[in-house]
Symmetry: C2
Subunit: 343 residues, 2 copies
Amino acid sequence: MSTNLAVIGGDGIGPEVVAEGLKVLGAVLPGVSTTEYDLGARRYHATGEVLPDSVQDELAGHDAILLGAVGDPGVPPGVLERGLLLKLRFAFDHFVNLRPARLYPGVSSPLNGVKPGDIDFVVVREGTEGLYVGAGGVLAKGTPREVATEESLNSRSGVERVVRDAYARAAARPRRKLTLVHKNNVLVNAGNLWARTFAEVGKEFPDVATDYLHVDAASMFFITQPQRFDVVVTDNLFGDILTDIAAAISGGIGLAASGNINPTKAFPSMFEPVHGSAPDIAGQGIADPTATILSVSLLLQHLGHTEAATQVENAVADDLAAREPGVPVRTAEVGDRIASRVS
Amino acid sequence: MSTNLAVIGGDGIGPEVVAEGLKVLGAVLPGVSTTEYDLGARRYHATGEVLPDSVQDELAGHDAILLGAVGDPGVPPGVLERGLLLKLRFAFDHFVNLRPARLYPGVSSPLNGVKPGDIDFVVVREGTEGLYVGAGGVLAKGTPREVATEESLNSRSGVERVVRDAYARAAARPRRKLTLVHKNNVLVNAGNLWARTFAEVGKEFPDVATDYLHVDAASMFFITQPQRFDVVVTDNLFGDILTDIAAAISGGIGLAASGNINPTKAFPSMFEPVHGSAPDIAGQGIADPTATILSVSLLLQHLGHTEAATQVENAVADDLAAREPGVPVRTAEVGDRIASRVS
Ligand SMILES: CC(C)[C@H](C(=O)O)[C@@H](O)C(=O)O
Ligand SMILES: CC(C)[C@H](C(=O)O)[C@@H](O)C(=O)O
């Protein structure tokens, strides 16, 4: 049974890092067939199209999607985010947005005195609800009376399914600890739903130790006590912010992987580096493809190729440990080195 | 003309740190008359009252309010936050929530290689709008059909006044740089209002250099490049999160001051440390009152006692520089030392 992968290289450094991700994937798992889709800023500028329905339908027929990055400064804010990235997350019901944070040996953290092992947690970010649903409106736009609203929508079933997924992930890890992050002292409606659901689903996982933090406190503790986190579950917007903090403390956005996962497999899941298209360094062959390669590891894990997933992650870890500090990265060389470690 | 100060010590370490704030205030500005108000968890448990209207009216008659911290684990989430803290911010139209971040000499940052001078910025957090207004509701609570919503309300006038205040603060600082933080690629209604208003008001301040960052990127840059920030303006919730990050990187919540400011002076402004009531260390005389004392400096600044404000901030800086690393803080001693430096 071969794997059919849809590939969206996108803009800027996107295609460059995706090429390396595919190189590593091909080395560790022979027989993957790929179909490339031309989506992103370039297509938008050329045709005005963001995500034609026919393309969405085709994507739906694949086993998984690998995405590089989309966007350039010429596209108005929101067009590609809401029209492509978030559209796919919602259409394919990617309710688990999985973002591991791990400080690998050889990588320097901006945090003082933090060693590999001190940062090793995973954020399970809800991916289909909250402030990302696009609810809200504008009254009297451009006038002194203007009012703009944004609405966060949270359903019991939506919260429950991601919370349960996070408990299961926590239960499978050695430390078995799950931290809920919200702001239930201010956002009392949604916060109460999350807290109640968290407590109720917790009864199914008596071995998992639980904790609750407000998002402001959690942001602080990511910096001052990253050791205290094992699995973190949180809503869509808080997860967006927390995972950039997590990326920053574990060596930067160049290493941060993510999976937009539909655990039911009713639709393909989508894997992508957390970083953007970085137009300033595009085309120079100097983008670090590591985040994409780690995203490939998450993809393999999701498709059940557990051993291959571990091989890729270990190869990345070995490569990071072997890098000369201060020597600039060459995109293709990183891919070559990691591919050769897994072949 | 003497100053009439309302004082809310609150719970836990609140009264302890406030006592030191008043000690320093008395030393630097003779003739302040204070009225104490018993509000917070203790009163709530004893009487069920959070903020009686009569007390709110009395508070309104003062020149300013100094608050320690309120809350204990026995109060349901939201009761004191929404019924007291946020109620006062809204009732007294505290639209500028001012939170300076400065790494003082002698204080160690959790960030590698960051020196005093590298962190010296101020966050102007909007204080009366956004997700903090308490809009939203719950459908079918406690059932599988439950839906909980939170609504962010943003008005042109509300955004404009805080943005203008932030520009004015930036224009008065040597670096003259203002960064807008939002998430306008996802929260397009509110984000567009903020971005448009930011651009328009900016025409009044041609000397101020401007920048825009998404909140996730800003959270990362607070950690990886704090030097790039001078004045930051942002909405209520993003400001809540960013200022805890700012506190973390500049030596911790024990040093973070804040002012809930109504620049029109139509109502009293309220000054408080960013930290909470810390019930675990209450009553032991070991809480660091520095954040409260720095809040007193902001209070003096707001009331026009610029020289006294600077004296207090300098005294704090000198005290921090003179502390023996590793020696635990004694609350009253810190107050004594700083008071004696300003007398
Ligand atoms: C590009 C943007 C829509 C996206 C998000 O906010 O989720 C990004 O920041 C991310 O974290 O994947
Ligand atoms: C206690 C809470 C309501 C408050 C807030 O969210 O504003 C606090 O976190 C703060 O930053 O002052």
